[in-house]
Symmetry: C7
Subunit: 94 residues, 7 copies
């Protein structure tokens, strides 16, 4: 993906039910009730963000749970993505 | 559990009345009036969170009291959990 | 009491009128108009809380005045308590 | 007075019109229009409050002007007092 | 004036139209449209305020422009004054 | 462009559908649905902003995605631009 | 101008259409649509403001773009000015 997030931001793609992720995880049917899961598609460099040193702890391909109301939705080459700060990533799955 | 919280976050499972916890504590009937008790099922690594060094003081299996309105509810493999920051854990019980 | 507050938190029991505290203080009748008095029943360890070093200055048995709207009410073994941060304790009485 | 404020807090007694203070100042009639004047009756120890070193600059007996909406009103032995932070004391009079 | 402001606070007297200030400046008629001008009548000692070292840059007699909605109005010996923080003084005139 | 942003600010020009950017990227038709893309036309010097050292990470000609509600719209020589802080730039495209 | 701003504040005069500035720039007719342009008429000394070292980067005569809703409007010797913090100056023009 040709989008490079700045600072501690990441680009995620929300996962739909039964979707197969790049890392091979198949999300089962009940995933339809999990709109807060996503796959990381791009990761910012981290560094000093708002005066604080941030280390990136997620990587491209990670399936994550994120804060439902966080981030900015964008459309890029016909697909929808969300850009959000790593601090809005709650956990890594799998 | 295959969910790894980031930073100072923990995953908790709310405890229902008369439920037996992993550590063997049996919550008595009046627990129905205690919706703020939960068992810790996963613990983040701590470290520098928002520019401050955080040491994790809870561990998997702890029964805790937490801030009622804190955290994000998630559904994972058919079960409901809450992900919240350790700072929203008020006390350890037992 | 088998509840261990985290960080700078304390567990308090609100004092009713003419109630005798553990430390022997008898609160007189007009105490009915003092819903902000309580006895400390458990004290957290203090330490670094939100990036600041906190020393606990209250101890179990202290009768205190606290901010009316602070804290979280809990029910534990049939009794009602409040968990709040030491910064919401205004003064020690007696 | 048997109330020991914590941190940078002080206990004040609001002054009514023509009331004689401990330090001998007689507040004249128009004081009725000065509900923001009070006498300090107890002073906390200061020290590190919310991560900042605070030196107490008021003492028992000082007549002060304070922020009208600051503090918590308490009743103690039949009398009304206000507990507030020294930062809500605007000036010392006399 | 017998009022000693604490910290970075100052006491000001709002200037009415065509009023002569202590330092001799005569405010012309259109001053009626300048309710934000005042004369400094008392200055706090400065020092560490809210964890930051503050140097006082105004002195008694200065005519200043201040933030209209800042500060606390007080009545003292029949006269009205405003107590506000030096940070709410925008500029010195003259 | 003869506008020099201060501190960590940048001037951007929002990109319309099928517009050709200075760096040669042609934004395809669906860009009409991407009102959050813009080209950087001027970049501030960075440095200490609000007490924090800021390094500028975008340069003139970069196509960026920015927070939709951030910044101030200005009109300059008949053209519309937006001035916003680099922290409101989410990602660089291309 | 006989107004000395404190700290990081500046005094600006909003520019009307086709007005000639002190530095000789003539603002063309469409300036009527640019209510956010102004000329700097006085500059504070900078220094430590709110605990942070501020260097002034604008000077008297600069034409600037500023945040529309920032600052305090004052009337001085029959003319209208705005006093605002340098951080509300977005860019220098020309």
């Amino acid at each position: 993906m040709n989008v490079k997030p700045l600072g501690d931001r990441v680009v995620i793609k929300r996962l739909e039910a039964e979707e197969k992720t790049k890392s091979g995880i198949v999300l089962p049917g009940q995933a339809k009730e999990q709109p807060q899961m996503a796959e990381i598609v791009a990761v910012g460099p981290g560094g000093v963000v708002d005066g604080k040193e941030i280390t990136m702890e997620v990587k491209v391909g990670d399936v994550v749970i994120f804060s439902k109301y966080a981030g900015t939705e964008i459309k890029y080459e016909g697909e929808e993505y969300t850009i959000l700060s790593q601090r809005d990533i709650l956990a890594i799955v799998g």
